[in-house]
């Protein structure tokens, strides 16, 4: 069958930010869906958002309430959400209570009542809340199966997109006739983790739609449910071909050590202990980008944007003007109870808003600490997904990470996140001639030559300044306690290796 012979399935907006992307573009029109989850997981709110997003006087919604939360109380609370538009009642949205017929009669009578109301209103959207209470009365599996089948058939024939809402436990998922009939099954979970509540949403099934698998974080705010796709909404974006362009870090000698700068679209990690100049280097990277006409984002966790900009000013770098010109955004993220995905969505939103080409995350340790404990387990995985998604569209990322310094070891990172990065620059203290001095070395550059030199640097009023020559008169520099070995004629220029990648 050719493409033009196939029926087009319209996708309806869910009214839930982020959920359309997770569903693969929206909810299939005329589908028969179930929203399942424990009490308080946001099922009714999600259904209301869909209803308010789609119902019109010409294509109204019927919202059947059954036993459970009373309609009056439900509307009392739901109207607090910003999506709730009272003007849509009663023309576009009608609430009908089925409690009496459920209590007094059988499923056949319930179906008859729903049929009568649907034929009268000709709705485009039908919700039954809570469906679970309707099917709790003792009846055979066959009766229940027949009821569901007839309800689904009737509502689809009447061109209604339907939601049945029910309180279900996870172990009820198997062999349940309701779930078998449904076109879409959306499971909402909320689990306490230490002092936080983690809310996750899963599209267990969605016929005819390429939904994003897995568990997606969601949040309920005064705007209702907001979902955060595991793929950060970038699944539809074309990946940029690998770039050969090199970006300057604003430190000419370091650019040379990197073989001409960091490759566009790379993820660069700057690791070092406290005070080694990681943030200064990151600031120079972002300021150089602004100078080159590349908008940037700085996500800071350990100081406020004003302090960050003032520190940059002390290095002669103006971050105030580009902020006013919307070429730079400094995000102060201390989410505490936010999930890692929500935080990363904030960064992504900022990146997309100003078309950022460079991103600084300062620092990964601060980022992780700022998260609620319950989300820290997801941190690395989410970070990996975000870095992968952003570098895929050509954003160059510089992350800083604090490393516990010791004078016996030289860890590249305490984070085991080397796999997240294409390039690593390591900064460290070293004891030389009775002074605590600083050295840097390029540990790794994926797909490019880089200098093997260990270079001394200083942090001055101009930022990170790499001193003239590589250190040749010392052995065991990276231990931090080098041994002096008197060698003359050090090489003037940094030497590049021959493309050997350093395994980390």
């Amino acid at each position: 069958m050719s493409t033009q012979d196939k029926v087009t399935i319209n996708k309806l907006p869910t009214g839930v930010p982020g959920l359309d992307e997770i569903m693969g573009g929206g909810l299939p029109e005329f589908s028969f869906n179930i929203i399942a989850g424990a009490p308080g997981s946001g099922k009714t709110t999600l259904a209301h958002q869909f209803v308010f997003a789609n119902a019109t006087p010409e294509h109204p919604a019927l919202y059947f309430t059954v036993l459970g939360e009373s309609a009056i109380k439900m509307l009392r609370y739901q109207q607090q959400y910003t999506f709730f538009d009272p003007a849509k009642l009663p023309g576009a949205i009608r609430f009908i209570n089925l409690s009496q017929v459920v209590l007094d009669k059988d499923l056949g009578a319930v179906l008859e009542q729903i049929t009568k109301e649907v034929e009268k209103a000709n709705p485009a959207v039908v919700v039954v809340d809570s469906f679970r209470t309707m099917v709790r009365k003792p009846q055979s599996d066959m009766e229940l199966q027949a009821f569901i089948q007839r309800l689904a058939l009737f509502l689809a024939s009447w061109q209604a997109t339907t939601f049945l809402i029910g309180e279900y436990a996870e172990d009820e998922l198997r062999d349940n006739p309701i779930f078998t009939v449904a076109d879409g099954l959306f499971w909402l979970r909320q689990t306490p983790e230490r002092n936080s509540i983690v809310r996750k949403l899963q599209i267990v099934k969605l016929r005819g739609q390429d939904s994003v698998p897995g568990l997606h974080t969601f949040r309920i705010t005064d705007a209702g449910v907001q979902a955060f796709s595991r793929t950060f909404g970038l699944t539809g974006h074309a990946k940029n071909p690998p770039s050969h362009r090199r970006l300057s870090l604003g430190i000419a000698e370091l650019d040379k050590m990197l073989g001409g700068g960091v490759r566009e679209g790379d993820s660069l990690l700057v690791a070092g202990s406290s005070g080694t100049g990681k943030s200064v280097l990151a600031t120079q990277f972002i300021a150089e980008g602004i100078r080159q006409g590349e908008p940037g984002i700085v996500a800071v966790f350990e100081e406020r944007p004003q302090a960050y900009a003032e520190r940059a000013a002390s290095l002669g770098l103006d971050l105030e003007t580009p902020q006013k010109d919307e070429k730079l955004s400094i995000l102060y993220l201390r989410p505490l109870d936010l999930s890692v995905d929500e935080t990363m969505h904030s960064i992504l939103d900022a990146v997309q808003k100003i078309g950022a080409k460079r991103l600084v995350i300062d620092s990964l340790a601060g980022f992780e600490m700022a998260l609620s404990p319950g989300f820290r387990a997801d941190f690395r995985e989410s970070l990996y997904r975000m870095i992968f998604a952003l570098t895929g569209i050509g954003v160059t990322i510089l992350s800083t990470v604090e490393v516990d310094e010791s004078f016996t070891e030289f860890p590249f990172s305490t984070y085991s996140i080397s796999f997240l990065t294409d390039d690593i620059i390591r900064l460290r203290y070293v004891s030389i001639d009775g002074q605590l001095r600083k050295i840097m070395v390029v540990i790794k550059m994926r797909g490019g030559n880089h200098a093997k030199d260990i270079r001394e640097y200083e942090i001055t009023s101009k930022g990170v300044v790499i001193l003239g020559k590589r250190l040749t008169n010392y052995q065991a520099l990276i231990s931090g306690i080098p041994i002096h070995s008197d060698r003359s004629n050090p090489t003037e220029e940094p030497s590049l290796d021959t493309g050997i990648e350093h395994k980390t």
Partner: protein, 123 residues
């Protein structure tokens, strides 16, 4: 013959029962009746039936009509404070906008100008 106020109550009962369920409406009506009794103790004899209809109010209003015809001092219809209480409860629970929406189901053509409210906003 049923008084206009009772007819109003009955229309409210029918339409609010669709929205809130018969049990939901009955609960509201019981509360409204309890509040209205403080204004008109004569409502003490009135009861809310299982289906939300009122028992005893029709007889009360009929008696008032008979008394009026016999030249007695005119008194207020006892169903009016009851309806006012009922609408007041809806206003408390749902707010002005939603209450007005629900009333438009019952009286689609009604112009719900809230001229007596404190802020004078349109309902």
């Amino acid at each position: 013959m049923e008084s206009p106020a009772l007819r109003v109550y009955d229309k409210l009962r029918q339409n609010l029962s669709v929205f809130a369920g018969i049990a939901g409406f009955r609960s509201l009506a019981s509360r409204a009746l309890a509040q209205a009794r403080s204004e008109d103790p004569g409502l003490g004899e009135v009861r809310v039936n299982e289906d939300g209809t009122l028992q005893g109010l029709g007889e009360m209003e009929h008696q008032i009509e008979l008394d009026k015809a016999a030249g007695a001092e005119p008194t207020n219809e006892p169903s009016i404070p009851l309806i006012a209480s009922l609408l007041g409860l809806l206003h408390i629970f749902l707010g002005e906008a939603l209450t007005a929406s629900l009333l438009r189901v019952t009286w689609p053509g009604a112009v719900l100008d809230d001229c007596n409210s404190e802020n004078g906003r349109k309902a």
